[in-house]
Symmetry: C2
Subunit: 335 residues, 2 copies
């Protein structure tokens, strides 16, 4: 397998991105193609033991920043590492693209017909899926590709999410739900109320509305939401988990007895932290584009990049693009 | 002061509601009017020491359930404890109404022109405010009164939230922000993008977009959102906090050493739990109706009911209804 890693993606690029690519090449034995500023990539590689690894470097003269406006950079930075990397997938020189960079920019460039991948025929809108970092690892779609959604997107998000969970994660007949502020029919905003009958008629294993509490405890395998709400949900969950960790640390340190307790309990806290760590789950697959694309967290470290590559490999191995292509073509949900 | 407590509100009614009313009468010395099934209220009071307390009971023949559809019960249960309780505020026999019951029903009944309070003149939509249960206690508006919002509601939510924070909580010149999936201008869904210029022109102390992480750490005093997103945010935060507590307990118990650590650290965990406990913050003020209304958490215990009464007292004492009436009349934000 040949997997592209955007060396200019993460907040701390190119360090974590290059180190993650090296970890991935070593663990998976695949060819990793690092795309970005050649000199900076090679400087990072110089500090690594890369004997016997299959690593290639492809120069890209530009890099997209987190603050770049996606609609602008799509055109203004035609030589960005994202453009170059995605075009390798388009041309068949690579099987997948992994970036921890600007989500909107990856989306926009992936959708370009010339260098990018474009949509799978019949897909109304590509969507970002994300594994929620609780023990049950439920899958949330959309996590931010579409800030505003129409009700008819939801059944397709459900189909793509179901295929991902079935093909890549191995869950049979995944349960699909709509995220809402109450479980009863009739709860929710206009989007949820209008999407509900569409999902009931979709042929998916739709189980109705679900509240955040039930979602994160695994009452559904795939939960659907517009990209704005989904993104706010993920960010709230991450923020509260980190807030609570800080608070516990502060309170433990406030007195010697609890500080000793905290020390003895350290391994338990470590397990909790690792379980809830967004770095563990890899990245967010961009579903509905005509190729395998994973968008990692901006704060990705090398381990997170490696996990995202592992996830991309699974998507390639289980041919998720073909599964979605066939699934959409055979469903009544196509455009 | 005379404050109505809906005895039929909480999930466990009338126990917590009556016990909370007794706590409030004792702590604040006010008259508490318990409204609901007289026999059941008196049975609860029989188990309490209520000598020297000013408690009244007003019978209401019907009770609203959590599963009742608000649009239906507004008309189908005209003798509910909510109808009776709110009409006491309307007629001037009481100063405020506190209920831990069905939020939609309280809203709907409060808006009735005959028995309810109706809107303050010029208010486009009443909104639920809620103190976010982090140490900084920022205020979120709307927490679920309006699942679908128009951009022009946001400046009024900001005005009402600012007046609440200024008058009731005592924060000078409160900072107002829009909750979004990114801080940069241009981030957000259509609602946020269209609300931004309206807020910039509103005369409020508007500081721009804010992400959940910054919000919960107190970067703004008042954060604005539509009621659907706000409710999902609050529910996600509560769910993650409770999920993490359970996880920590499980992991501590998994081995004897960490279990001893957990025991020694118990007081620290207790402080964290209390700090993040939604019961501490009281309830959600319904801003924009022509009277003081607090809606408590369905899972309220007696302490939470007492806290909600305390919050209602503050709103009466600082005449928040008059402040909003004047504020809206003097602003360019009226209908």
């Amino acid at each position: 397998m040949r997997i592209v890693v955007d060396a200019m993606g993460s907040d701390g690029h190119p360090g974590p991105d290059v180190a993650g690519a090296v970890l991935a090449a070593r663990e998976f034995g695949d060819t990793i193609i690092l795309v970005g500023d050649q000199a900076r990539i090679e400087a990072e590689l110089a500090g690594q033991d890369i004997t016997k690894l299959s690593l290639e470097v492809r120069h890209a003269a530009q890099a997209v920043n987190m603050t770049d406006k996606p609609s602008v950079v799509v055109k203004s930075k035609p030589d960005s590492s994202m453009h170059v990397g995605l075009s390798l997938v388009k041309s068949g020189e690579a099987d997948a693209f992994v970036s921890a960079g600007n989500t909107g920019a990856v989306l926009g460039i992936a959708m370009l017909r010339q260098v990018g991948l474009g949509r799978i025929p019949g897909v109304k809108r590509p969507a970002l899926g994300v594994m929620f970092p609780t023990r049950e690892r439920p899958f949330l779609v959309d996590n931010g590709a579409n800030a505003d959604c129409r009700p008819e997107y939801m059944p397709q998000f459900g189909l793509m999410g179901s295929l991902y969970m079935e093909q890549v994660v191995g869950i049979r007949n995944p349960r699909v739900a709509l995220v809402s502020n109450g479980e009863e029919e009739g709860k929710g905003n206009m989007l949820i109320k209008e999407a509900l009958p569409l999902l009931q008629a979709s042929g998916l294993n739709f189980i109705g509305n679900i509240e955040p509490k039930e979602f994160m405890r695994g009452a559904a395998d795939v939960a659907l939401t517009d990209g704005f709400t989904g993104n706010i949900m993920m960010k709230t969950a991450e923020a509260i988990a980190s807030y609570m960790s800080d608070l516990i640390r502060d309170e433990l340190m406030a007195n010697p007895l609890t500080a000793v307790g905290g020390l003895l309990a350290k391994s338990a806290f470590g397990r909790v932290r690792r379980l809830l760590d967004p770095h563990e789950v890899g990245g967010a697959p961009l579903l509905g584009v005509n190729g395998v694309v994973i968008i990692g967290h901006g704060r990705s470290n090398a381990y997170a990049i490696k996990q995202a590559v592992g996830q991309a490999r699974q998507m390639v191995a289980h041919n998720i693009v073909m599964a979605i292509t066939t699934g959409v073509a055979n469903s009544k949900l196509a455009e």
